[in-house]
């Protein structure tokens, strides 16, 4: 799910469950590696009460600055709209899955 400044609040901050958001940009090499991992994760966790989304930092400047995104890829894990953990750099699917499952 691709989010932006206009729907981020509603989709993530007002969501009662757990969420993982991948902040990325087109010009970022490591983001291109993270992207497919996030998509696989989303497919594997389909049907579970967890939202997996991505935000293009260039297209969503206010969301990016709200969460102090200063290095990408940045992955933020939310629960009930609150930031649980911010991860920067490339992360493996197994690790992200484990972190999300702990919140379910």
């Amino acid at each position: 799910m691709e989010l932006n400044d206009s729907n981020f609040e509603q989709e993530i901050l007002n969501y009662e469950g757990a969420a993982l958001v991948d902040f990325y940009a087109e010009w970022c090499g490591p983001c291109k590696m993270q992207g497919p991992i996030i998509e696989e994760l989303a497919a594997e966790m389909a049907g579970q009460p967890v939202k997996i989304a991505k935000v293009n930092v260039d297209e969503s400047p206010s969301t990016s600055s709200r969460f102090n995104i200063m290095s990408i890829p940045a992955l933020i894990i939310f629960q009930k709209g609150k930031v649980i953990e911010t991860l920067s750099g490339l992360h493996a699917k197994e690790i992200l899955k484990k972190k999300l499952e702990e919140l379910l």
Partner: protein, 311 residues
């Protein structure tokens, strides 16, 4: 536990090439790496890898990884934290679990050298960064400092001067290792201020970087610190097992062997005198072939040559 014939630590030029070769020898191969393509993947253009002309680093490294996977190597994203010998086998502990193998190829390259000052570690991803081309665009219109005096520092300063309001270039000496042409370009930029013979002693902020304190007591208000002071091997976790040189690089012989039978090395993490994509790729191949020979001779594993490889 997952068992392999060979575990390759590192997934850039050396590791992916090693995986291509061991995969083609039908060796059960795991490439365990924290990213794909390492330093080469964040290089904008590579013009000296023969046979492909001018190519974007990320694209070249994606090709490397595809080819290794097509040859049968399995790639997992994770970081090794320990390497042990257990009952004649190698045990790799990592951020994503434990793996066992009959041989290991060390090919995890170098990591960015750290300044080692308070605040640096705490603000990684919150204003402290080691890659101008990766994170530069996130500092549009901001004030940043680049630390270093070599080509990568001047490259970063030049690139950032086009994006940022103000760029400080801070270097501990007044002599630069960068090429003069590059120094002249940076000096000509009106929004770059070069500060020499001083070091950052602390990076300070609340949620993110807000200022840098210099040794002379001066305080710079800024949003980002780009650290460009070179590279170093991250070999602490193997130092009790594998022989390293004085700067922590893995010592290998001309066949890519380390002092431990069954452990091989390739690429920038080793004491190879030149750090280049093509050299790392060549060394990866060499280490893989040595490794295959070792498994055949010492472990009685039947090695199938490339040309009879199963599809």
């Amino acid at each position: 536990m997952n068992k392999y014939d060979v575990i390759i630590l590192g997934g850039a030029c050396a590791g992916l090439t090693a995986g291509l070769y061991t995969g083609r020898r039908a060796l059960k191969t795991l490439i365990l790496t924290k990213d794909i393509g390492g330093q080469a993947a964040i290089t904008h253009e590579i013009e000296n890898y023969p046979g492909v002309g001018k190519i974007n680093g990320f694209e070249l490294m994606t090709n490397f990884s595809k080819q290794a996977e097509e040859a049968g190597a399995e790639i997992k994203i994770g970081e090794a934290t320990a390497l042990e010998i257990k009952k004649g086998k190698f045990l790799v502990k990592s951020s994503i679990g434990e793996f066992e193998s009959a041989s290991v190829i060390l090919a995890f390259g170098l990591e960015h050298r750290k300044l080692g000052v308070p605040g640096e570690k705490e603000f990684i991803g919150k204003g402290v960064t080691y890659c101008a081309t990766c994170d530069g665009p996130l500092f549009k219109g901001k004030t940043v400092a680049v630390v270093g005096g070599g080509n990568s520092a001047f490259d970063a300063a030049e690139y950032l001067s086009g994006l940022c309001k103000k760029v400080y270039l801070i270097h501990r000496s007044d002599k630069f290792r960068a090429e003069q042409v590059l120094i002249d370009i940076v000096k000509s930029k009106s929004n770059v201020e070069i500060i020499t013979k001083v070091e950052i002693v602390e990076i300070v902020g609340k949620e993110r970087v807000e200022k840098a304190i210099l040794r002379n007591g001066e305080v710079l208000k800024l949003d980002g610190v780009f650290i460009e002071i070179g590279y170093q091997p991250k070999t602490d976790f193997i130092k009790d097992l594998v022989k390293l040189d004085s700067i922590g690089q893995v010592i290998i012989d001309k066949e890519g062997k380390t002092n431990v039978p069954g452990i091989f090395g390739a690429g920038d993490v080793t004491d190879t005198p030149f750090k280049q994509v093509v050299i790392s790729a060549g060394e990866g191949a060499k280490a893989a072939l040595s490794c295959a020979r070792y498994l055949q001779n010492n472990k009685g594993l039947e090695i199938k040559p490339d040309w009879t490889r199963r599809k």
